[in-house]
C-alpha cells in the first residue's frame, strides 16, 4: 500500500531517486538544490542506497562525470540550479548528443547578476536548446512522480535522451507537503534495471563521442531531433502506465476550468497552483477565465497546445524569464510560433512575472487579466509587460 507522508520536497526527490535505484550520482551542491544531493549523499554513506556518489569540484565536472558513468551503463542522476546549470552548459549538449539517459533535477533559480538565490526560470530557459527532454512540475507529489518516471522515459531504447525535471527553487524545493509514496515493489515493477544499448565495455569496445565531418554532422543532428520529437509518444505511455498504477495521470498541457473560457492564462511550474486560486476567484466573480499549465517543455507539445486554446479569444502567457532584447520572452515566443499558422488563433498577451523570487500572490493574476482585457480593446502598450516593475 502506498502511504502518505509529510516531507520537504527536496527530500522527497532524493527518496524518489533512491527508490528508482540510481547507481551513479555526481553532483556539486548549490542553493536551492542542496538538500536533494545532501540527502542522497547521506543515503549512500549510510548504505541505504547502493550507488557510487562522486564528489566533484564543480558542476562542469559533475555532468562530465555523469556522462562517463552513464556511458558505462549505470543509472545516473544529478541535480543543479542556476549558475551550476550555466557552468554545465557545454557538456549538456554532449550528454544528449551521446544519447545518455541521465536524469537531472533543476531547482530553478534566477541567474546572476545581480546575484539572486531565489526562483525564476532564467536558468533553464538559457539552456533551452540542449536537446534534453524537459518537464516542469507543480507540487511535491509531481516532483516525486516525475523523478521516478524520468528514468523510465530516458532509458527507453526508442528515446535514450537525458531528462530534466524542473522544480521551482525554494517555493517548491523547500516546502513541506503531503505526498503519497508508493511501495518499493511497485517502483521496481514499474522501473526495471537499465540495460544500455551501448556501454563502455573492454570486451565489446565502441567509440563514443567521435567527431563528425561536415558530410555527416547534419544527419547526426537530424537523428537527435527525431528522437526528441519522437519521445513524445513514449513520455505519454510512461505517464499513462504510472497513472494506471497510482491513479495520478499527467498530460503535456493540463487544463483547469477551461470549459467555456474566453480568456486563458498559461503558466509553468508551481505558479500554476497560485493561478488556480486566482481562477477560482475570478470564476466566482463571473469571469470566463481558465488556466493552461504547460508541463512538457521539450519536446514542445504543439498539437496539445493548439487544441487546448480552441474557442479561447485571448491567451495570457506568464513567463518567469526574459529574453533581453529579443522578440518575446521564451514561453511566449514558443506559443506564438505554435499559433502562427492557425486560422482561428487566439490573441496573445504577455506578462513576465516572478523574476528573482518576486512573490506572486493570486491577486497578481487578477490584475494581469484585467490589464489584458483592457488592452484587448485598445491594443497592448508594449510587446510584453514586465509586470509590477516600478518606475
Amino acid at each position: 500500500m502506498a502511504h502518505r507522508v509529510g516531507m520537504e520536497v527536496s527530500i522527497a526527490v532524493s527518496h524518489a531517486v533512491q527508490m528508482s535505484r540510481a547507481e551513479a550520482i555526481a553532483a556539486y551542491p548549490i542553493t536551492p538544490q542542496t538538500h536533494i544531493v545532501e540527502h542522497l549523499s547521506s543515503m549512500v554513506a549510510n548504505g541505504e542506497l547502493d550507488a557510487e556518489f562522486v564528489n566533484v569540484e564543480s558542476e562542469h565536472s559533475a555532468i562530465s562525470t555523469c556522462i562517463g558513468m552513464s556511458a558505462t551503463g549505470a543509472r545516473t542522476y544529478t541535480a543543479t540550479s542556476s549558475q551550476g546549470l550555466a557552468l554545465m552548459n557545454e557538456i549538456l549538449f554532449i550528454a544528449s548528443a551521446l544519447r545518455l539517459p541521465i536524469v537531472m533535477t533543476v531547482a530553478n533559480r534566477a541567474l546572476s547578476g545581480p546575484l539572486s538565490i531565489w526562483n525564476d526560470h532564467g536558468d533553464i530557459m538559457a539552456a533551452r536548446d540542449i536537446g534534453w527532454i524537459q518537464i516542469f512540475v507543480e507540487n511535491g507529489q509531481e516532483s516525486f512522480d516525475h523523478s521516478v518516471m524520468a528514468f523510465k522515459i530516458a532509458e527507453n531504447h526508442k528515446v535514450l535522451l537525458p531528462t530534466i525535471i524542473n522544480l521551482d527553487g525554494f517555493i517548491l524545493s523547500h516546502v513541506v507537503e503531503a505526498m503519497e509514496f508508493p511501495e518499493q515493489e511497485l517502483v521496481d515493477k514499474f522501473l526495471p534495471p537499465y540495460h544500455p544499448r551501448f556501454s563502455l565495455d573492454p570486451k565489446n569496445p565502441v567509440t563514443m563521442g567521435a567527431f563528425a565531418m561536415p558530410e555527416v554532422y547534419t544527419e547526426v543532428k537530424m537523428g537527435h531531433q527525431m528522437a526528441l520529437t519522437g519521445s513524445y509518444d513514449h513520455i505519454l505511455s510512461v505517464w499513462k502506465e504510472w497513472g494506471d498504477l497510482t491513479g495520478r495521470h499527467y498530460k503535456p498541457v493540463e487544463k483547469y476550468k477551461t470549459d467555456g473560457a474566453k480568456i486563458l492564462l498559461l503558466t509553468m511550474g508551481c505558479l500554476s497552483e497560485v493561478a488556480e486560486v486566482a481562477v477560482d476567484e475570478m470564476r466566482d466573480a463571473g469571469l470566463e477565465v481558465g488556466l493552461l499549465k504547460l508541463r512538457m517543455w521539450r519536446p514542445f507539445p504543439f498539437a496539445d497546445l493548439r487544441k487546448a486554446v480552441e474557442g479561447a479569444e485571448l491567451l495570457i502567457v506568464c513567463d518567469r524569464a526574459l529574453s533581453l532584447g529579443g522578440a518575446a520572452p521564451p514561453v511566449l515566443a514558443e506559443v506564438r510560433s505554435a499559433f502562427y499558422e492557425m486560422p482561428n488563433r487566439p490573441r496573445t498577451a504577455s506578462f513576465v512575472i516572478g523574476l528573482g523570487g518576486r512573490d506572486i500572490p493570486p491577486g497578481v493574476f487578477k490584475d494581469i487579466v484585467a490589464q489584458a482585457q483592457a488592452e484587448a480593446q485598445t491594443g497592448p502598450t508594449e510587446e510584453y509587460h514586465i509586470f509590477g516593475v516600478r518606475g
Binding site: L98, R99, F198, T207, A210, E215, G223
Partner: protein
C-alpha cells in the same frame, strides 16, 4: 555506421548517439582533401633514403614498390618533406582548382 561513403549515409543509418561499433573507421576519412599543395618527387634525383617518410608529421607519405615514396590521402601539403629532402628532389605543386 554503414560502410557507405560518408556523404551518402542517411540519418536513419547512423547509430544512436553516433556510436561507432567498428574500430579503425578514421582510416576512411580522407583528411588530406583540403590541402592546397602537394609534394611531387623527381625519381631521378631520389636516393630512397626515407627522410621524407620519417619527418612527415601526419603519416601522409607511403613507401611504394621499389623503395620510392609518394604522398597518400592523409597528406595536408605542409611541405616539411620538401624542406628536409636531402637531395632536393621534392617540389610542392599547387592543387588544381
Amino acid at each position: 555506421m554503414s560502410s557507405k561513403p560518408m556523404d551518402q549515409v542517411t540519418w536513419q543509418e547512423i547509430e544512436v548517439g553516433a556510436v561507432l561499433t567498428e574500430p579503425g573507421s578514421a582510416r576512411a576519412y580522407n583528411t588530406g582533401d583540403w590541402r592546397s599543395q602537394h609534394p611531387v618527387w623527381t625519381k631521378s634525383r631520389c636516393i630512397r633514403c626515407g627522410v621524407c617518410w620519417t619527418v612527415c608529421p601526419e603519416a601522409g607519405i607511403s613507401e611504394e614498390p621499389g623503395g620510392y615514396f609518394d604522398m597518400n590521402m592523409y597528406c595536408k601539403g605542409c611541405g616539411i618533406c620538401a624542406k628536409e629532402c636531402v637531395t632536393g628532389c621534392i617540389s610542392m605543386v599547387p592543387e588544381e582548382e
